[in-house]
Subunit: 212 residues, 2 copies
């Protein structure tokens, strides 16, 4: 969409991402960012206009390309369940790589009343949901997936599970004995990803006897 960001701007965004993730948007001052990025405090206003617009730029920069990635996935020649698995991997990888910014996004978006960002996100979520819908309906047409799936609730289970794990990183590091970053990231790539994939698969495929 917008790639008119020079090296300096990207460098600032990177520092901002780290600090926002660490201390929150309101908990991070422009002076904090300036100090770490080794720039003058006026540069943020100079390049982005304001702190709010800096967040806006950061979000757009970090979510850019997601729509296209999903579109490509839809075109791949894979079984529906494989597409779901790939979609889960894609989400996890996205969120995991963009350390913390997704957490900020989810939190700030609900508290701040920035119409711009709010609208941008609604459209992004709608687009993502539509992609998921296409895959699931494909699986239903092939007779693989159950017909009575509440599609909009699939995403909360995928992303929510991963988020809750990330939000409680310290806790899970402790009880699962993931002492190094490598161990932690490996656990996400293997066990956690598998857990989410199995969860969604069970939900999509197996008949569930509903009581009364």
């Amino acid at each position: 969409m917008k790639t008119d960001l020079n090296d300096k701007q990207i460098q600032i965004l990177e520092v901002a991402e780290t600090l926002f993730a660490e201390k929150g948007f309101d908990g991070t001052s422009i002076r904090d960012i300036s100090k770490v990025a080794k720039i003058n405090i006026a540069m943020v206003s100079y390049y982005f206009g304001s702190k709010d617009l800096l967040l806006e730029s950061l979000i757009k920069h970090k979510t850019g390309g997601l729509k296209e990635q999903l579109a490509n996935l839809l075109e791949e020649n894979l079984e529906p369940i494989e597409k779901i698995n790939k979609l889960i991997e894609l989400y996890i990888n996205r969120i995991n790589c963009n350390r913390g910014i997704y957490r900020i996004m989810h939190f700030e978006i609900t508290t701040k009343k920035n119409e711009n960002i709010h609208h941008y996100f609604t459209e992004l979520k709608k687009s993502n949901l539509k992609s998921l819908e296409i895959i699931i309906k494909e699986g239903q047409a092939k007779g693989i997936f159950r017909k009575d799936i509440n599609i909009p609730l699939i995403t909360p289970t995928i992303i929510g599970t991963f988020f809750h794990f990330q939000m409680n990183k310290d806790f899970y590091e402790e009880i699962l004995g993931l002492k190094t970053d490598t161990l932690y990231n490996n656990y996400i790539k293997t066990d956690l990803t598998k857990h989410i994939q199995q969860t969604i698969k069970a939900l999509l495929i197996y008949e569930i006897a509903t009581k009364d």
Copy 2:
């Protein structure tokens, strides 16, 4: 644990909860709280010591009794799967009733480095996990649940799903057509709760064929 809170203190906590949920901890000033609660700004320090200690009091006040509630559930004469369903309802009800404070908790706890709160939470989570473990092992002993369940990842799926839904309240209100608060809360009580219960049930009961 600590019930030495007078009416005034509870009133302040209630206002703080609302505002923290609305604008975040850092986004809410003591003056904001004072204005809404119609008290002098010095009263917060007078009653709680500091803004940080106010948050601490709020969290302890709001999470109090959860441990006991879970302990009671364990003692009930129910089938394991029914206990799981009740546990899910209990979590959803807890989080849903204490509007917003759980969101603050999750977010602030990861950003703020308050040793006190951090330790309090770790113990709470460990206790909750132990309760869940007991129920699941009960179900496994009865031959109802699968043996290869990654128990620590069950909670992220339960709470994470609900959280993600709550965090994106506006979005789901729109796409699901939940125009009033009543409709929204009803959806949580029925569809969303059922979705989570079905998800966990599928995960606990059905055999999943693993590829390669």
